[in-house]
């Protein structure tokens, strides 16, 4: 199969959990990587090594372990900056997850009456970042709840108007009214790069260019993009871009918000506390430069170390090759699923237009029941609304079953899924 990682057997051996045997002697078929990815031994080892040998708090402990721990934490920032092609390591803010990164931007935009004109401003136009009642915030109907709710809150708090791109029947953004939606009042355009439900890959660069023409900032939810395709933050056109560690073979509890230095500098602090200050007096405080301004309190240190190891691991394989593998497996899965009668895939049917998450409906069987029967055969998928209720509503469904692949997914696992779905239909007596 063209595009498949040639050393797939070797790669699978990097992930100890993939040899798990489940109840009834069923081998694990893990097709829930869009939910969370599995972890290679190098990530586990890096975290264990840090905890066993280097553990200390960072940036404040005046001892050898403190220096080692600080170095490890900051090295992870360098690694992530390199992975994203960020112009500066200071543009990489460690957060808890993507949600925190998006909330950071949405909240500080409500507070910040700051001008960016000194350095040419947003999109070269200069201007005020503050969102107020005259502003419009533009999102899309395919967003994860974490890229909807923070903007709803921002709109409610500021009186701004929330608008969104609708979707076409084949699961793409409906851009027919783009000239109306992106206008002089638009302050923020926030969108997902790759949909966690429909799989759709959105034209981020084109939308960013359009947004910049009106002086809006562009916030990209890259939770599903960074794991499975090469991401160059500069080339993307984004002003802010977030992703999470646990979907890129790293641990939970750590995310990344990348932002253009000029904008991060201009925004006020989000959370106040230790480590984000320059000096504190009872009358007032001054703040540390970025990225520390946005990292209040003891950060997730060992999680950052794990994330650094994870992106190093992905880089060693090559994100171009990971993307080629995902595309090959996704094409194979779409073909296999098309043989299952009564099954409807939600989202684009062409692998090149989409990521590796495939949501589908099976006539007459609720997604919960599909997932339950698949689980009895060792196949792990997700069932529900995948934190994308509006996107489900758009397609007239309440929930769906989602199978999602990653760099360790084999064609044989897709075969097991297709067989499992046929079995599910028989089990519930739904066969046409």
């Amino acid at each position: 199969m063209e595009g498949l990682l040639p050393d797939l057997d070797v790669i699978r051996k990097d992930f100890p959990i993939l040899s798990r045997v489940l109840a009834d002697g069923q081998p694990l078929v893990y097709l829930d990587s869009a939910n969370t990815s599995q972890k290679p031994q190098v990530v586990i080892d890096a975290m264990v090594d840090h905890l066993e040998r280097h553990n200390a708090n960072i940036a404040r402990a005046m001892h050898q372990l403190g220096a080692e721990s600080t170095e490890a934490y900051e090295a992870a920032r360098d690694t992530v900056a390199g992975f994203l092609n960020a112009p500066s390591r200071d543009e990489v803010v460690f957060t808890k997850n993507v949600s925190e990164g998006l909330n950071l931007v949405a909240n500080t935009l409500a507070w910040g009456g700051v001008s960016t004109s000194s350095t040419g401003g947003v999109g070269g136009k200069g201007g005020n970042l503050k969102v107020d009642e005259s502003s419009e915030i533009l999102i899309t109907e395919m967003e994860h709840h974490s890229n909807i709710v923070p903007w709803q809150l921002l709109a409610q708090r500021t009186g701004a108007t929330l608008r969104w791109f609708g979707l076409t029947d084949d699961g793409h953004l409906d851009l027919s009214n783009i000239d109306e939606l992106i206008n002089e009042r638009t302050k923020v355009v926030a969108l997902t790069w790759v949909s966690n439900m429909l799989g759709t890959i959105n034209p981020v660069r084109m939308l960013a260019d359009r947004a910049h023409q009106v002086g809006a900032i562009v916030v990209v939810d890259a939770a599903q993009a960074v794991p499975q395709m090469p991401v160059d933050v500069v080339a993307s056109g984004a002003d802010f871009l977030g992703f999470t560690g646990h979907k890129v073979t790293g641990p939970t509890g750590i995310g990344v918000l990348w932002g253009r230095a000029e904008l991060l500098d201009a925004l006020p602090p989000f959370l106040g506390g230790g480590e984000m200050i320059e000096t504190v007096a009872m009358e007032g405080s001054t703040y540390a430069p970025i990225p520390h301004k946005f990292e209040a309190g003891t950060p997730p240190i060992v999680e950052a170390v794990g994330l650094g190891a994870a992106v190093d691991y992905l880089a060693s394989i090559g994100m171009d090759r990971v993307r080629a593998h995902e595309e090959a497996i996704t094409a194979y899965a779409l073909e296999g699923l098309s043989t299952v009668s009564g099954l409807t895939v939600l989202g684009p049917r062409e692998a090149r237009e989409r990521g590796g998450a495939i949501s589908f409906e099976l006539d007459g069987i609720h997604p919960h029941d599909v997932a339950q029967v698949l689980d009895s055969r060792g196949i792990a998928v997700r069932a529900g609304h995948h934190c994308a209720k509006p996107a489900h509503k758009r397609f007239g469904v309440q929930s769906s079953t989602r199978a999602s692949s990653y760099l360790y997914t084999t064609p044989a696992e897709i075969d097991a899924l297709v067989d499992g779905l046929e079995y599910t239909k028989k089990y519930f007596g739904v066969d046409r």
Binding site: L22, A23, D24, I365, H366, P367, H368, D369, Q372, V373, D375, S376, A383, G384, H385, K389, H392, Q398, S399, Y427, F428, G429
Partner: protein
């Protein structure tokens, strides 16, 4: 999970109710209508309750519903209507309590067919913590609607409210 376990979850009775649900649809008259959702999966149910009489004399005259959800939640709704319609409210609440105890028993509670009838088929569901909410969704909606009717009748006449056990509230989420 073994195939045997799968069969213990999807009892024939459950699949029968799923395919041919009883008392389906929204009907009049009713004194209260509630809408409950399971936030993790998006399953939804609208339940209408019609009571006659008040306090100790209250009788569940009708429970009608519009539900969207998995086989477990759909079948549980159907079985619930069989179990409560026509019963004195006090007795229906007792059945509710017994079903709740079965669902929260992690598979260690022996169901009583006398009171739970087809509800005993859900004994296997209790072994799947992720599915317990599915089985309880409509029961919680029914209890909520009933409590609303009782509360409003208390406002207008001096009767005792039906007790709603506080420890079950968390199951509603």
């Amino acid at each position: 999970m073994t195939t045997q376990n799968l069969d213990s979850l999807y009892q024939e009775i459950i699949l029968d109710h799923y395919k041919n649900p009883h008392h389906q649809g929204l009907r009049e008259p009713y004194e209260a209508e509630v809408h409950h959702v399971n936030p993790t999966c998006g399953d939804e149910v609208t339940v209408r309750v019609h009571l006659s009489g008040t306090a100790q004399d209250a009788v569940v005259e009708d429970v009608s519903y519009d539900a969207e959800g998995c086989s477990i939640s759909q079948a549980a709704t159907s079985v619930m209507t069989d179990l409560v319609i026509g019963k004195p409210l006090e007795q229906a609440m007792a059945v509710h309590d017994e079903f709740l105890a079965l669902m929260q028993g992690r598979g260690n509670v022996e169901p009583d067919e006398e009171t739970l009838e087809d509800g005993i088929a859900f004994a296997g569901v209790a072994k799947f913590p992720a599915r317990v909410k599915c089985a309880l969704l409509s029961w919680m909606a029914w209890k909520d609607a009933t409590a609303q009717i009782v509360a409003s009748s208390v406002d207008s006449s001096p009767v005792e409210p039906v007790e709603t056990p506080a420890e079950t509230r968390e199951e509603q989420s």
